[in-house]
């Protein structure tokens, strides 16, 4: 099947490897009917409005049937008899009926779409909340574009289903029930005969559903890939343009876009296929009725008139079935979208507060790693029994090769990841026994990539403490030494930062990130290559601010700047997840061990090459 080929092509290129998990884009397996139950719990939050909507729909349907009946009465009883007075009454009745119908339909449609929008709102909020709970490890392996596709595109698919689909389905069912009754009244035997084709209809539907469901899943997965690729390309547009890659990327995108188009065409074809199937079944029902009717007529137990009327009813009987088949398609599409949405909601939260988690009281800032074993993959441990202590208020610099585990220590301390064995303690509290919020609010982190949010500079500095006053924001900026830089900008603190701070230099962003961390006033501070992007000239400015930022706090500094390392109270050298040396700059140089060699290697050898 063509719709499958691209997924396989991609898989063959290991495209799905690190993304929202290959199992997540799984397109096999049957439809999970439990989804319906989960939906009910959302609809169930508005029982009165939902009920009112259903009642109004029944009322509306009733009024809708009453209109032609009343017109019939007007014809037969009044106009035919020249009864103008009666006609006035009938017309008055019709006006009342129509106004009532208008109101009933208005309130019904509105209440239903209101409930629909509420449910969608709740669903997307729940998804977002869940995404905020998910641990970092989920984000390590997930393409944001795909998550966004679920939160937006899949929720959109549900929209039409919820706002109108469910009710039209109900109304079709009602119409079907009504016609069934009329047919039974007209002629029980013929009616039962006509209904005989229904099981056939069900079998066809079941068979069709399997294909349709698969095909719809393929289309949802395809659009998710398209969106993720788009997202990545838009974020990386600068690289694409600067490396003159436009043509190649356009071709790649076109490839994927065409794949998405083709899967959708296949899905539309399958969706449309149900229509001729219904027609054929309807024709069979009519043919069967004709033959049976002919027999009955020959036995004089049926008149031609009744048979003809009956055949017209069979046609009307299939009208709601036609509608239902369309709505069933819609339901299937929505079911697939719902699957993908609940898939996110069911994503396990790896790191959770224990039920008995305490609130970490204000800490002094002592950090201890006790016999820690950890690896991002359990079978590839980075640390085996790592132990060290950072006394409160001290600055420790972590030094070591790329991949020695420096950043991992930071991630464990903030409990972005949980240790596999041993414990991480803050002031003697195991980080797993306190609430994440109380732990992290006392630990500040400044990363190499200073992520800023769209908004003003003030808002960004306030991010760590939302209730900070303007003076406090300014003071923080002054301490860091970024105040003058901010004031140079046209709008000062009210300057709008563009997405990811791209209208500022990396140095400016980094300084704002420092101010943000300072304002949050954490007891423990982690600087993960935080000074890396600051140029030589600015560094002169920053050093002072940095010292003030670190003053009195426990600090874990991952850096390669000599100045930062030299000023640390203690330097810890990591190798292969183990501490091999500890001490201050002079001591370690005197030891003439790995640190001294790293030190020598860093500039020394390079200096030699120059000579």
């Amino acid at each position: 099947m063509k719709s499958h080929s691209y997924a396989e092509y991609r898989r063959s290129r290991r495209w799905l490897e690190n993304s929202l998990a290959s199992d997540d884009e799984d397109i096999s397996g049957g439809f999970d009917w439990r989804l319906v139950g989960r939906f009910r719990s959302y609809l169930g939050r508005y029982p009165l409005v939902s009920l009112a909507s259903v009642v109004l729909m029944v009322v509306y349907t009733g009024l809708n049937i009453a209109t032609p009946l009343l017109i019939g009465v007007a014809f037969d009883d009044f106009i035919a008899h020249g009864d103008l007075r009666g006609l006035v009454f009938a017309i008055g009745g019709l006006i009342v009926l129509n106004v009532a119908m208008w109101q009933a339909q208005y309130w019904q449609v509105w209440s239903m779409s209101w409930v629909g929008e509420q449910v969608l709102y709740l669903l997307s909020c729940d998804m977002f909340e869940h995404l905020q709970r998910l641990s970092l490890s989920f984000y390590d392996r997930t393409q944001i574009g795909r998550v966004m596709s679920r939160l937006q595109s899949d929720v959109d698919v549900l929209e039409s289903m919820l706002s109108s689909g469910l009710l039209s389905m109900l109304s079709s069912l009602l119409a079907l029930g009504g016609i069934i009754v009329v047919m039974l009244v007209l002629n029980v035997r013929l009616a039962l005969l006509a209904f005989l084709v229904l099981p056939l209809m069900v079998i066809i539907a079941a068979f069709w559903q399997k294909h349709a469901h698969y095909s719809f899943r393929v289309t949802r997965a395809a659009i998710s890939l398209v969106n993720a690729t788009l997202q990545e390309n838009i974020s990386g547009m600068r690289v694409i343009q600067s490396m003159v890659r436009e043509d190649q990327n356009r071709a790649d995108f076109d490839d994927l876009n065409a794949y998405n188009r083709d899967t959708n065409l296949v899905a539309s074809r399958i969706a449309a296929l149900i229509l001729p199937l219904v027609e054929v079944v309807a024709a069979l029902a009519i043919v069967a009725t004709i033959f049976a009717g002919a027999v009955l007529i020959s036995h004089r137990s049926l008149t031609v008139g009744v048979l003809v009327a009956f055949i017209l009813y069979i046609n009307r009987f299939f009208d709601p079935i036609r509608d239902l088949s369309q709505q069933y398609t819609q339901l299937q599409r929505s079911g697939v979208a719902a699957e993908r949405i609940f898939n996110i909601l069911d994503m396990p939260v790896e790191i959770q507060d224990r039920p008995d988690a305490k609130v970490l009281p204000p800490i002094r800032g002592e950090v201890e790693f006790r016999d820690v074993t950890f690896g991002y993959k359990a079978d590839m441990p980075i640390f085996r029994g790592l132990s060290f202590v950072i006394p409160a208020g001290k600055t420790v610099a972590l030094v070591g090769h790329t991949g020695a585990g420096k950043s991992t220590i930071a991630g464990l301390l903030t409990r972005f990841y949980d240790v596999q064995q041993g414990a991480v303690l803050v002031d003697g509290y195991d980080v797993r026994e306190v609430t994440q919020a109380s732990l992290r609010s006392q630990i500040g982190m400044v990363l190499q990539d200073p992520f800023l949010f769209t908004g003003t500079i003030r808002e960004n500095i306030c991010y760590g403490r939302l209730d900070a006053s303007d003076e406090e924001v300014e003071t923080a900026a002054r301490v860091i030494g970024v105040h003058d830089l901010i004031m140079q900008l046209a709008k000062g603190y009210e300057t709008t930062i563009r997405e990811r701070g791209r209208n500022l230099s990396v140095g400016q962003r980094q300084l704002i990130a420092f101010a943000r961390a300072l304002l949050a006033d954490p007891r423990i501070l982690i600087l993960d290559e935080a000074t890396a992007n600051i140029d030589t000239v600015t560094e002169v400015l920053v050093q002072q601010g940095l010292q003030r930022l670190l003053h009195g706090r426990t600090a874990l500094v991952i850096a390669h700047r000599l100045s930062t390392i030299k000023n640390a109270d203690q330097i810890t050298v990591l190798q292969r997840g183990q501490i091999i040396e500890q001490g201050n700059h002079e001591e370690l140089l005197a030891q003439n061990g790995t640190y001294a060699q790293l030190y020598a290697h860093g500039f020394g050898k390079a200096g030699g090459a120059e000579a």
Binding site: A74, E117, A228, R269, I290, L447, T536, A600
Partner: protein, 626 residues
């Protein structure tokens, strides 16, 4: 006076709005041109299906009536065959309609996506500076979806509704002209109602689509800034931000739906009241023997049939308005002229020497403050130009002017004597290797990332580039070697490794001019050495512009430029600047001297015991791979 001008402008404004609508819809429909066969097919199938759905049941009843009344049992088979054929015809038409109407929307969405994507690629850096990824994504998803849905749910329904309405109107006119005219009274009423609802729907959909874009930005930022959110414990804040924007979008959508829910039944009511009027007038006429009862019955029944197209009108107005708002947002992007375009007579330079000159260059973003002034640089082929200055002094801006990411506002930049505005952008950029500050890696294998700028590179070339970037040994130590996947934004690699991938991909492009923006700083000591080595190798023989913070690079530079507030305040070599005793000398004393001492110190230590750094990292990776 005032009243007069208002009276004149009112219909004018109305006309302008109308033209505005016509323009957008015409443009949306213009996307059908390459697919006219599918479009016409879907319309034909739709008409056929609608006609058959009206005719076939009557036809079957008629055939059965005649056939069975004749009493000839042999005709049963014929009748059955006729029924089957009619039903199959109807089924085929329904299939064609169902499939083709969707197909139209699918192929248009495909075209729109491609056109939009190509346009986003054409748009310059300044556009991408201004527009958030979330907003652009929203236009590429939600808005394209809205436009595409307008085909099956909007335009096609308009056609069928108009056709149905028209044919019923003709039948009515034939049946009884005066009564038909009464029924057609409803048309202006319906139009008036439509105009009302359109006028109120338009701003609602405009804001709904706009806010959906903002929601998308919030979503995007809060997910990509996950680490910051986590470490500042701002989950609740982010959730609140999302919820309030989401609630805004919800309320807007509810408002549009409420309007549609109000309007559609109202239109049906208008029609039904007119029908009641016909019943009253016609009924009186029948009683007065001026009209036959069967005629009136037929007229009323046909009038009731008008309900279906009118109901569709109410439904599709919503879709069409939504498509209008979305179409406008899409066309906004498509109509934005790229700030930087190739001159019509732009030439391509297949080979360059690498002689770069900045001549009296000045620059400002739009009407903003002057960022650069009087910049003069003469970089001879192969020279290294080091830029120094405080953050915000304009170093990065100078670098981004050279590949023409932005155009100078004064003066000119020349490469080998050609003003870069007279060169084709692609040809210019091919000669410039740009290692950006934040390294953006794509979700692909390391091999693909290295070959990013040269997709046709052979395996040998890729490996050679990786070797120069001191990356090869590390890559081989990975479980899948060059086929190893680099995750979203390359998270599985450290900063230093990403940097080296960026260097490798620049090497593979083999540019004559190299632009390095703080490229060496975000790495640890060991990688720094590796990168220094890698850069040494790359810079050799290439004209290099580098924002430098390493003394080594600075000392090696042929020219050092000190920037302050967008001006070059000092220039010279390490020796001459130190001797001059200006800013550079001061800077040297504060910052760089320390590095030099450190260097001297380390020279003493060096050579005592060489440590096999590369092997060490390699073995560690091999170990973990096992």
């Amino acid at each position: 006076m005032l009243a007069d001008s208002q009276r004149i402008s009112w219909p004018l404004a109305r006309l302008r709005t109308l033209r505005d609508y016509a323009r957008i819809y015409a443009r949306i429909l213009g996307f059908l041109r390459p697919h006219w066969k599918i479009a016409i097919g879907s319309v034909l199938c739709l008409i056929l299906a609608t006609t058959l759905s009206l005719v076939v049941p009557e036809l079957i009843a008629e055939v059965v009536n005649i056939g069975i009344s004749s009493g000839n049992a042999g005709q049963l088979v014929l009748i059955s065959a006729a029924v089957l054929v009619a039903s199959i015809l109807r089924g085929l038409a329904a299939y064609g309609q169902g499939y083709l109407s969707q197909a139209v929307s699918v192929v248009v969405a495909y075209d729109l996506r491609n056109v939009m994507y190509a346009q986003l690629q054409r748009l310059s850096f300044s556009y991408h500076d201004e527009n958030e990824t979330g907003q652009l994504m929203s236009r590429m998803t939600v808005d394209i979806e809205a436009v595409r849905n307008a085909f099956p749910y909007g335009f096609l329904r308009v056609i069928i509704a108009v056709l149905t309405f028209g044919s019923i109107a003709v039948i009515l006119a034939v049946l009884d002209l005066p009564l038909a005219l009464i029924i057609l009274l409803s048309v202006p009423v319906l139009m008036l109602l439509s105009v009302q609802v359109v006028r109120r729907l338009r701003p609602l959909w405009d804001s709904a689509q706009q806010e959906t874009g903002s929601l998308s930005t919030i979503l995007q930022e809060s997910l990509s800034g996950r680490r910051v959110v986590l470490s500042f414990v701002r989950e609740a804040y982010e959730i609140q931000k999302f919820q309030s924007k989401n609630a805004e979008v919800r309320n807007l959508k509810i408002a549009t739906q409420r309007l549609a829910a109000w309007n559609q039944p109202l239109m049906v009511l208008a029609l039904n009241l007119v029908t009641v009027l016909v019943l009253w007038v016609g009924g009186t006429a029948v009683v007065d023997h001026q009209l036959s009862l069967p005629t009136l019955v037929a007229v009323v029944q046909y009038a009731l049939l008008l309900g279906t197209p009118v109901r569709t009108f109410g439904f599709m107005i919503n879709w069409l308005m939504r498509a209008r708002s979305s179409g406008e947002r899409i066309f906004q992007v498509l109509d934005t002229a790229p700030a930087i375009q190739d001159a019509p007579d732009a030439i391509a330079l297949p080979e360059i020497e690498g002689h770069v000159r900045f001549e009296d260059v000045g620059f400002s973003y739009g009407a903003g403050p002057q960022i650069l002034e009087d910049i003069n640089i003469d970089a001879q082929p192969g020279q290294v130009i080091a830029l120094l200055g405080a953050t915000g002094s304009g170093k990065s801006t100078i670098l981004s002017l050279l590949p023409r990411f932005y155009d100078v506002t004064q003066g000119q930049i020349t490469v080998d004597g050609h003003d870069i505005r007279q060169l084709k952008q692609a040809s210019l950029r091919q000669h410039i290797g740009f290692v950006l500050q934040d390294v953006f890696l794509f979700n692909a294998t390391i091999r693909e990332n290295i070959a990013f700028g040269a997709p046709k590179a052979t395996e040998e070339q890729i490996v050679a580039a990786a070797k120069i970037a001191r990356l090869h040994d590390f890559i081989l130590s990975l479980p899948d070697g060059y086929g190893t996947w680099v995750g979203e934004r390359g998270v599985t690699l450290s900063g230093g490794q990403k940097q080296r991938v960026a260097i490798a991909r620049t090497i593979l492009m083999d540019p004559r001019i190299l632009v390095l923006d703080d490229a060496t700083s975000s790495v640890d000591m060991e990688t720094e050495y590796l990168i220094q080595e890698a850069l040494e190798a790359v810079m050799r023989g290439r004209t290099t512009f580098v924002v430098a913070s390493r003394l080594r690079t600075i000392k090696r530079a042929d020219q050092i430029l000190i920037l302050e507030h967008g001006r070059i305040i000092e220039r010279g070599t390490h020796e001459s600047l130190r001797a001059a005793g200006g800013t550079y000398a001061h800077l040297y004393d504060l910052q760089l001297r320390e590095q030099e001492e450190y260097e001297a110190q380390s020279k003493q230590l060096q050579g005592k015991r060489p440590i096999p750094l590369l092997n060490e990292t390699t073995s560690r990776w091999k170990e973990s791979a096992r």
